[in-house]
């Protein structure tokens, strides 16, 4: 029998595909109205996804029930939530064209997992691991947001520097707004990730004792964390702004993405829930 949960997941995915199409069309025909419509469709997708996660959270078997599919869905949910929240503050609908691909990829990956492994094996479940998980996801989602804004900044900057803003330049948000989103993403993402990592570290120190730093995911994560810390420091203290920060944000994100993929496929790690 198809559960109510699955019924909720399907429209979430469908709406996301629809929103993605809308955003791409918006880029293609260079009309921001399409992106505006797509943002509403994405909001619908977000609602369905929220219901899906809510149903999962109240599942009879409790926390044990959470698997890879849920993990990926939460990831997508947080990114979508942050993007939509930002739309109240800024008029950067087109940012969706750069954010939604991530959300869609995560949802498609989630759809690929029927039930999957347990997100957190029963023996490790504690409020610290939950905190670790939620904050790490939120931090990374904010970095994705900063990256998407940076990618747009690089394009817009190129158009303006070449003195040919044209239709594309008119379509993309202003440099000032994009730089501000990058700022917000780094400013909020870094502390969240930091606290998340501390939570994980504290838990690991108690439970595993001495051997935890040998985990490749942990080592890579610290490297990525350091890079983002450096970025935020340069931004706040040294006053790096604009294109330099935009390029570095994209590089940092690629580093983060590649590390995640390399670890996923080449190494054995305790963080192997996808």
């Amino acid at each position: 029998m198809v559960s109510l949960e699955t019924i909720m997941f399907a429209p979430a995915l469908a709406c996301c595909v629809l929103a993605m199409t809308g955003y791409l069309l918006s880029l293609l025909v260079k009309k921001v109205s399409l992106a505006r419509g797509s943002t509403w469709i994405l909001a619908a997708s977000f609602v369905f996804l929220s219901l899906y996660l809510l149903l999962a959270a109240f599942h009879s078997t409790g926390w044990d029930y959470f698997g890879s599919r849920h993990f990926l869905s939460i990831y997508a949910w947080v990114i979508a939530g942050i993007y939509l929240g930002l739309q109240f503050k800024t008029k950067t609908r087109l940012l969706g064209a750069f954010i939604v691909p991530f959300i869609l990829l995560l949802l498609i990956a989630a759809a690929g997992y029927g039930s999957g492994k347990n997100l957190v094996p029963p023996q490790w479940q504690s409020w610290l691991t939950n905190l670790h998980l939620v904050l790490a996801i939120a931090g990374e989602a904010l970095f994705i947001l900063a990256t998407a804004a940076s990618a747009m900044f690089i394009i817009q900057n190129g158009l303006l520097k070449r003195k040919k803003p044209g239709k594309m330049g008119r379509l993309l948000p202003s440099l000032g707004e994009l730089d501000r989103i990058n700022h917000l993403g780094l400013l909020w993402g870094f502390p969240l990730l930091t606290i998340g990592m501390i939570a994980g570290t504290v838990y690991a120190a108690f439970v595993w004792g001495g051997q935890w730093p040998a985990d490749p995911k942990v080592i890579w994560s610290f490297a990525v964390w350091a890079v983002y810390g450096f970025l935020l420091h340069q931004r706040l203290a040294i006053g790096w702004k604009g294109s330099r920060i935009a390029i570095l944000s994209c590089v940092a994100f690629l580093l983060f993405l590649s590390s995640a993929l390399v670890i996923r496929f080449c190494f054995a790690t305790v963080h192997n829930f996808i």
Partner: protein, 422 residues
């Protein structure tokens, strides 16, 4: 007699500017001329549109060319036009007149295609005509249709989307760089006219804190005072440059006023905040090498002109779509106008029939009083039914004929047959 809509006038395409000015002044002197014009025999409704680029009379008249000649001679008289200048006057009739007016309102006929002022001017002309009570059913609907067409053209095409003046192009770029201009500081170097115009648009879009730097402080002060800014000499340029977000330079200096080094130093001081430099001077005021610096966006007059040219091209492309909209609207209005021919006759036919029914029912009221009220209603319904059935055929025929503008004969016949003019 058949009705005619006509536009009589001249515009910047047909007449030199001094002729337009002469006529403009002449029309203003004429005083209460809607009344004068309406007194011309054959003129039913009139509207007078007068801007710096055109003087036009929109009229609804009898279908008689002599009326148009009278209107023409009115224009010749008010403008004291010479014989040569009379040839500047054009006359559009019926469909052409409607199309002309719709194109004017939609800014397709303007010097700068897509400009926004003309619609306001047309509306103003109409408002004036309304207070003078010089328009009626035909022109009222014509004007509302013209406004509707203009609105459709603005929203459905990109004809007014992109700036086609250098100063507006600079403002649009500033918005693309900073997002909102609120709180952005503007520095004007050299007190040129173009710089002032750009500055005015920037303020209109929310920019604040104007600083004017000029060789002669006296001139700078005049400009600064106008925009509640402050004036400085060129000596402090280094300092004020660091504070500014938007810099517009238009001095007549033979060499660079702002060097790459100055900009570089500045950017360090302002912690790499974005800086928009506009150089509209010839020869250049700002070293082009400054554009190589990160977070600095330097546009000179040629770059801006390229953008404007590009936008102008896109407006011309959009104007094709706009012409299509005008075409549709003209057809719709013309259809309405055609049907209008038969409408008065249809109305009087109906009211005559209703009058007869009312009279006969009154006559019959003495014996109908003995009927139940339900039966009385039935008799009334029966009578109305018969009348409607009989009138249906002639009324439909008149409507059908009017769609082809050929209803004069049949309308005349109906008036005679039903004795509507007695």
């Amino acid at each position: 007699m058949k009705n005619m809509i006509a536009v009589v006038g001249l515009n910047y395409k047909t007449a030199p500017i001094d002729v337009l000015e002469k006529l403009f002044a002449g029309c203003s002197r004429e005083g209460n001329f809607p009344a004068v014009l309406k007194a011309i025999p054959g003129v039913h409704e009139i509207l007078h549109l007068s801007t710096c680029n055109r003087v036009e009379l929109v009229v609804s008249t009898d279908d008689d060319l002599r009326v148009l000649d009278l209107l023409k001679s009115f224009l010749v008289r008010s403008g004291a036009l010479t014989n040569n200048e009379v040839s500047c006057i054009y006359v559009h009739r019926d469909e052409d007149a409607i199309r002309h007016l719709f194109r004017v309102a939609s800014s397709l006929d303007s010097l700068v295609m897509g400009e926004a002022q003309i619609l306001g001017q047309v509306k103003e002309a109409y408002r004036w005509a309304l207070t003078e009570n010089s328009t009626g059913i035909i022109l009222n609907r014509l004007m509302h249709r013209a406004f509707r067409t203009a609105k459709r053209v603005r929203t459905e095409t990109g004809i007014a989307a992109n700036p086609v003046s250098v100063s507006f192009a600079a403002v649009e770029l500033a918005k693309k760089i900073f997002g909102s201009l609120a709180g952005k500081k503007t520095l004007i170097i050299g007190a040129g006219e173009m710089a002032e115009l750009t500055c005015m648009h920037l303020i209109g879009n929310g920019a604040e804190e104007i600083t004017v730097a000029n060789r002669s402080t006296a001139q700078a002060e005049i400009l600064a005072e106008k925009y509640h800014g402050r004036a400085v000499g060129l000596g402090t340029l280094d300092e004020v440059l660091c504070d500014a977000d938007i810099v517009i330079s238009s001095t007549g200096a033979p060499s660079y006023v702002v060097t790459e080094d100055m900009v570089r130093r500045c950017l360090r001081k302002r912690k790499n905040r974005l800086l928009f430099l506009v150089d509209i001077a010839m020869p250049r005021d700002i070293d082009p090498a400054a554009d190589g610096i990160e977070n600095v966006y330097l546009y000179n007059i040629d770059h801006l002109q390229d953008i404007v040219d590009e936008n102008m091209k896109s407006r011309r492309r959009e104007s094709l779509k706009a012409e299509q909209i005008v075409h549709e609207e003209v057809a719709q209005y013309f259809n309405w106008l055609k049907e209008l021919e038969a409408v008065p006759t249809i109305v009087s036919l109906r009211s005559k029939a209703e009058g007869i029914v009312r009279m006969e029912m009154e006559k019959a009221s003495s014996w109908m009083g003995s009927l139940e009220s339900e039966d009385r209603d039935k008799v009334e319904a029966l009578v109305n039914g018969i009348v409607n059935k009989i009138l249906h055929a002639p009324m439909t025929a008149m409507k059908e004929e009017s769609a082809e503008f050929q209803s004069q004969d049949i309308v005349a016949a109906a008036r005679q047959l039903f004795r509507l003019d007695d």
